[in-house]
Symmetry: C2
Subunit: 206 residues, 2 copies
Amino acid sequence: MARKSGSSGEKTAIAVREAAIRLIAQHGFAAVSMRQIAREVGVQAGALYLYTPDKQSLLFDILKSHMEDLLSSWQDEAPGSDMAPEARLERFVRFHIRYHISRQDRVFISYMELRNLSPDNFVEIERLRRLYEDVLGEILSDGAAKGVFVMEDIRVTTMAMIAMLTGVSTWFREGGRLGPDDIAAHYISMSLRLAGAHVPMLAVAE
Amino acid sequence: MARKSGSSGEKTAIAVREAAIRLIAQHGFAAVSMRQIAREVGVQAGALYLYTPDKQSLLFDILKSHMEDLLSSWQDEAPGSDMAPEARLERFVRFHIRYHISRQDRVFISYMELRNLSPDNFVEIERLRRLYEDVLGEILSDGAAKGVFVMEDIRVTTMAMIAMLTGVSTWFREGGRLGPDDIAAHYISMSLRLAGAHVPMLAVAE
DNA sequence: GTCTATAAGGGGATAGAC
DNA sequence: GTCTATCCCCTTATAGAC
């Protein structure tokens, strides 16, 4: 975006995004003004328009790059479809939980602010979200076909599991009773159980 | 609120609430103006202030009466704690799914608009929400104590199950492939499985 | 790249007529 | 119980100086 290497434009561009993400996660897109974002960044409101054509594009860019990053991060560590369904599901759940815990703000926004997207932008984000849901749907279908997962309804199970997994971002707090890896482990065994896999209990506490 | 029996005040008061719920669910609290609500009701903006002291109270009243109605509806059909945990869980899940399907707008708002409550109002709504979560937590704890539910972590399972169940309100659409009762049945067996109960498969489709 | 100034409009809320 | 008119403030976005 910025061409002069010594300029602070690059840094400002990043600062604008980060500030927007933080403020929108906290107060909601419609409740946050461009002036608030500018104050957080330390520039005047007018300067923001060097980095975004308008407020709507700012939201869209945040959501779009979040979804793209989510999908490409998964591609990077996705197991081959020749792997056992249980192992694939475990990999997916661990990835999902870690990703959602480490990027709580972005995740939160991308679920809460869909209503504030323009119709065209909404369609595009929904397309990307559907691609991600299909990753899980395909793993569950594969497991059902191979007889290692037993579900009454694959589509409902997919939606239920996605909601269950993503919910972690609403209650997880840094420094709580459980760390990210403990939580991921719990969600892995809950997911396997939800999919109707035979899952040995590793440890029963409480 | 209105004292004259022939007046249209009572009707208007209800219309204001319904319009507010519909618009807020669609666009978000911060994005909806008092003028928009008035237009939907068919009155002028000033008239709204006969029914609410301000916009914040309008939101708070919607969320508070939703939570109170949710809790008292549950009280009305809650089974005694002498019932078997599996049966109690089944009752809870069926109630939750039906309630959330039949009041999608209210449920949606009460999850999405927490950020737009004033700090005091937020505390009150959170208190009510926690009461409701505890209903499920208590059922799961009871089942664990009696050895019919087997979970690695009761608190995490409670949060996961609530998220899974409430998620139905984000994807359910009237006239879809499955009716409310089919969906409730699926969520019941998924919940039992999540709780680690022995659950017979009734029917495996797809 | 950033600032100041400003245009043009919408926001919540109130006063007073009817 | 409702309307009209209005106050005052904040909003997004742009123009032009530096």
